[in-house]
């Protein structure tokens, strides 16, 4: 018997269960975009170098182009389509909109998903390469511009919206109450 090249899987995406047969070669990104019509996650490079396809897997950010769909079974998947609360935009989405944190918009879903995770990672005390003092007793550094830039650097933007993206992430972090009141330069 020839080896099977496809399987029926169930994906948990944005709180809904989707059962579908997939080619084993199908990436999570292609399953979202081409099979489930969830085209908010973008394909900028298809090799994990640009971050446009960033989604949250069990609450942590991941590039969905480097994840096979069959391996995503059992994970809690959140895409850009699932971050708002109904009609109420997520604070990160609202800040991007208000501060013009995008131009063409193609990297935007990935930037927003990444930013949501950045704010949570920071709140959980994770250091970054920009953190001066990583000793546990040093506590969580303020989520200043340098920290945001470092933590967001996996998400490329060719239009060059970085300056307002950093402002938007800082503003959203403040709005979600996890940010010190320290101003972002």
């Amino acid at each position: 018997m020839a080896p099977s090249t496809s399987s029926a899987i169930t994906l948990n995406i944005n709180g809904e269960k989707y059962t579908l047969p997939v080619d084993h070669r199908t990436t999570l990104l292609d399953a979202l975009r081409e099979r489930l019509d969830l085209t908010g996650s973008k394909k900028g490079c298809d090799q994990g170098q640009c971050g446009a396809c960033t989604v949250l897997l069990d609450g942590r950010r991941a590039v969905s182009c480097l994840q096979l769909a069959v391996a995503a079974e059992g994970r809690v998947i959140t895409t850009i389509e699932g971050v708002a609360d109904g009609e109420q935009l997520h604070p990160v989405q609202q800040a991007f909109l208000d501060l013009d944190g995008f131009q063409c918009g193609y990297c935007t879903p990935g930037q927003i998903c990444s930013a949501i995770a950045v704010i949570e990672e920071h709140a959980a005390g994770w250091p970054s390469a920009a953190t001066d003092d990583v000793r546990p007793e040093a506590g969580v550094p303020a989520l200043g511009a340098e920290e945001i830039r470092e933590r967001m650097s996996g998400n490329l933007c060719r239009c060059g919206a970085y300056v307002s993206i950093v402002q938007a992430v800082a503003q959203a972090a403040e709005a979600t109450g996890t940010q010190d009141k320290e101003a972002v330069a």
């Binding site: 080619d23 973008k42 830039r149 330069a185």
Partner: protein
């Protein structure tokens, strides 16, 4: 029926900040880009590119591939539909690369040789990778360097004049108290919009329907109609959302491949380029080798000006990177010479990339001006004030408005330029050397004919139809504001439809001409509609529509030098141990006519400045001489600025009224990049005392240059 009376006039939309009208769709993921519109029975095409840099295709092994699961067809030069590339398009003759699969010749590595179409993208990709193409390989030449003996002067085109000359440059240089004679190089650079090029084509009721990502759907529709000899009325191209373009999104092989395949298969076909394919299929910025000679009096006044720029083109098509055009606008001298030279190599044809010509040209010229200021011992801004021309240095025409000095004045004030000690290599902060630099910026303010229609709807709203393209510029929003002011209504009552060739012809989003061109057409139609509505009466259910076509009015424009201007300021830190250059802040002040939407305009200026930073420090495509193809043709191998590379950047503008101009709007898409690389290079000199004339300013170059400078200072045998 709705009455048109009793509505208070509202204006002031233009000039106040508005978030993007499609912004919510973009932050929620609802906006659909070209590869994201679903179709029943959709098939997927995957291009196969040549692996040799020159030769002929001996065979295409399509037999085994056709037997692979899901494969529907393999198109190549042996079976593809015929197309005709012998036509004149809007921007001249088409690049022969769109004459897909018409012969067996391979002119460069990455030339399209086949298209595999299958039921799923996974099947198409695997089959494309399995397709064996055999070649008769020929020797290739991809070596670009200055002083190639086979360089030639191209002919003039409507877009670029190859050479301008007045006076005797050699005599002018001989008579000059101070002379700068320096060579500058810039590398091959790639657009890399975040959204890869994608097109879906299908036949629908006798019409070709193409969902595409481009800078002008009328343009792409017209090119496709001419290429395939279709009735122009039978071709519809839509391009609702565009994930960045920067000059790269016109007609490319992917649309042609999709149209060929849907014509053969009678099913919708989507062709999406991979990131790596974009490095050979969509054009790029040519590397340049430039020589600048400036001769001046001791007080810095220019007597002789010479800018010669060499770039490359392919063996199949001619494209000139017009780096030497800057001096025709910026600086005058009695002896004045600008020249473009080309070298033909076995490489893809370059194309327009953000500020074509001005971006690499300004690196060389604005660096040379800084060197002249140093030699004359005067401030770089004072040097520019001293050389401010009264009229176009080559044309002699008056400027429509020229407020570059106001930009320098405002920029100097905000940047704190007056406190700057001009001597290099003095400021140190730990292992960082600090410096600052400045440069001028300019870009033409062109305009192209456009049609528009504005309809007063029976429900009291207005619909604007203008075939603009919003490539991230905020065109939809800008046209909403322009129409609202012309109609004297609130922007909330205006709906703008763009990016559909059925809307009628309009200027492309290119050359910083889109907003000026579209705004003109929208304003004319809206003004006429407002006048008709002012006569009173009701609005019938189908609405009242006024139309415009600006072709005649554009033809009647007075001949003038029409340009945007700006001043760029940079502060850098250079790590003396690692050679790393960090930009600490950038400031750009622009004189660019009426700014329609300050929110999105600022974003666009800053985006351009980030391109300049990226060009100065990061971007460089490396071509392997042995294989003729790129090394690292991806976003890891080709680094452009990321979050961590980008510091505090400010952009602002000065008043720039354009007397007598019917629109008052100039372009802002390109000028942000112009001069930034020079300002950064000048700041690196100010920090270190060493000139960098080759981009990008990589750490290894900084370290080697520092070593050489030390050897020279010690009287060693460093080469001159």
């Amino acid at each position: 029926m709705t009455t048109t009376t009793g509505v208070a006039a509202v204006t002031g939309a233009v000039g106040s900040a508005h978030t993007r009208v499609e912004g919510r769709d973009k932050v929620t993921g609802a906006a659909r880009y070209s590869g994201e519109v679903p179709f029943a029975e959709l098939t997927h095409g995957w291009l196969v590119l040549s692996t040799v840099a020159r030769g002929r295709i001996r065979s295409v092994g399509d037999g085994p591939v056709l037997a692979m699961p899901g494969v529907l067809t393999v198109l190549h030069h042996g079976n593809a539909p015929r197309v005709d590339t012998d036509y004149m398009g809007m921007l001249g003759r088409p690049n022969p690369i769109v004459g897909l699969f018409q012969h067996d010749r391979v002119p460069f590595a990455g030339w399209p040789v086949a298209l595999v179409v299958a039921e799923t993208s996974e099947q198409a990709r695997e089959a494309a990778e399995a397709l064996v193409v055999q070649y008769d390989e020929e020797p290739h030449d991809v070596a670009f360097h200055s002083g190639r003996s086979d360089a030639y002067t191209p002919g003039d085109t409507p877009i670029v004049k190859a050479e301008t000359e007045k006076g005797d440059v050699e005599a002018g240089l001989d008579a000059s108290a101070v002379v700068v004679d320096a060579e500058y190089t810039t590398p091959e650079e790639h657009h890399n919009p975040m959204e890869p090029h994608a097109a879906t084509a299908r036949w629908d009721g006798g019409r070709l329907d193409v969902i595409d990502s481009n800078q002008g759907s009328s343009w792409v529709a017209s090119e496709l109609a001419q290429l395939f000899s279709f009735d122009p009325a039978s071709v519809r191209v839509r391009s609702e959302h565009v994930g960045g373009a920067f000059g790269s999104k016109g007609l490319s092989p992917h649309q042609v491949a999709a149209v060929m395949a849907t014509t053969v298969l009678h099913r919708p076909v989507r062709v999406v380029l991979t990131r790596s394919q974009m490095f050979s299929l969509i054009g790029y910025r040519s590397p340049t080798a430039q020589r600048i000679r400036l001769g001046a009096d001791a007080d810095g006044r220019l007597r002789a000006f010479d800018h010669q720029a060499q770039s490359l083109t392919s063996t199949v098509h001619e494209f000139v990177e017009s780096s030497a055009v800057l001096g025709r606008v910026m600086y005058d001298a009695d002896a004045h010479h600008t020249l473009h030279r080309l070298v033909r190599l076995d490489v893809p044809t370059p194309t327009w990339m953000r500020a074509p010509g001005e971006a690499p040209g300004s690196f060389a010229l604005e660096s040379a001006l800084d060197e002249l200021a140093e030699k004359c011992g005067i401030d770089p801004i004072a040097l520019r004030v001293r050389n401010e021309p009264e009229a176009g240095p080559v044309s002699g025409l008056p400027f429509s408005s020229r407020n570059v000095l106001a930009c320098f004045e405002e920029g100097a004030r905000r940047f704190g330029w007056a406190d700057r000690d001009p001597r290099p290599g003095l400021r140190r902060e730990g292992r960082w050397l600090l410096g600052s630099g400045t440069a001028a910026a300019t870009y033409p303010s062109g305009v192209g004919p456009s049609t528009a229609a504005v309809t007063a709807e029976a429900d009291g709203t207005f619909t604007v139809r203008i075939n603009a393209a919003d490539v991230g510029t905020g065109a939809r929003t800008a046209m909403t504001l322009v129409a609202a002011d012309a109609l004297e209504v609130d922007p909330d009552r205006v709906r703008v439809r763009i990016a559909d060739s059925d809307l009628g012809p309009a200027m492309i989003a290119g050359g910083s001409m889109g907003t000026r061109s579209w705004a003109w057409a929208v304003t004319v139609a809206a003004n006429e509609l407002r006048e008709r509505l002012s006569l009173g009466g009701g609005i019938p259910p189908e609405g009242i529509t006024a139309r415009s076509n600006t072709a005649e009015a554009i033809g009647a424009l007075t001949q003038k030098e029409r340009h945007s201007f700006g001043a760029q300021f940079a502060e850098v830190a250079v790590d003396v141990d690692t050679g790393e250059v960090r930009v600490r802040r950038l400031l750009g002040i622009y004189a660019a006519g009426t700014i329609v939407n300050p929110l999105t305009a600022r974003s666009q200026f800053i985006g351009g400045m980030i391109w300049g930073l990226s060009m100065a420090l990061h971007e460089e495509a490396i071509r392997d001489q042995a294989s003729g193809s790129h090394v690292g043709a991806d976003l890891a191998g080709y680094h452009f600025a990321s979050h961590a590379d980008v510091p505090i950047i400010e952009a602002d503008w000065v008043d720039d009224p354009v007397p007598g101009d019917p629109v008052g709007i100039k372009g802002i898409g390109e000028i942000g990049i112009v001069g930034v690389a020079a300002a950064i290079a000048n700041a690196v000199w100010h920090a270190t005392g060493v000139r960098h004339r080759d981009l990008p300013i990589r750490p290894d170059r900084v370290l080697c240059a520092a070593d050489e400078a030390r050897r020279r200072a010690a009287g060693g045998a460093g080469s001159a």
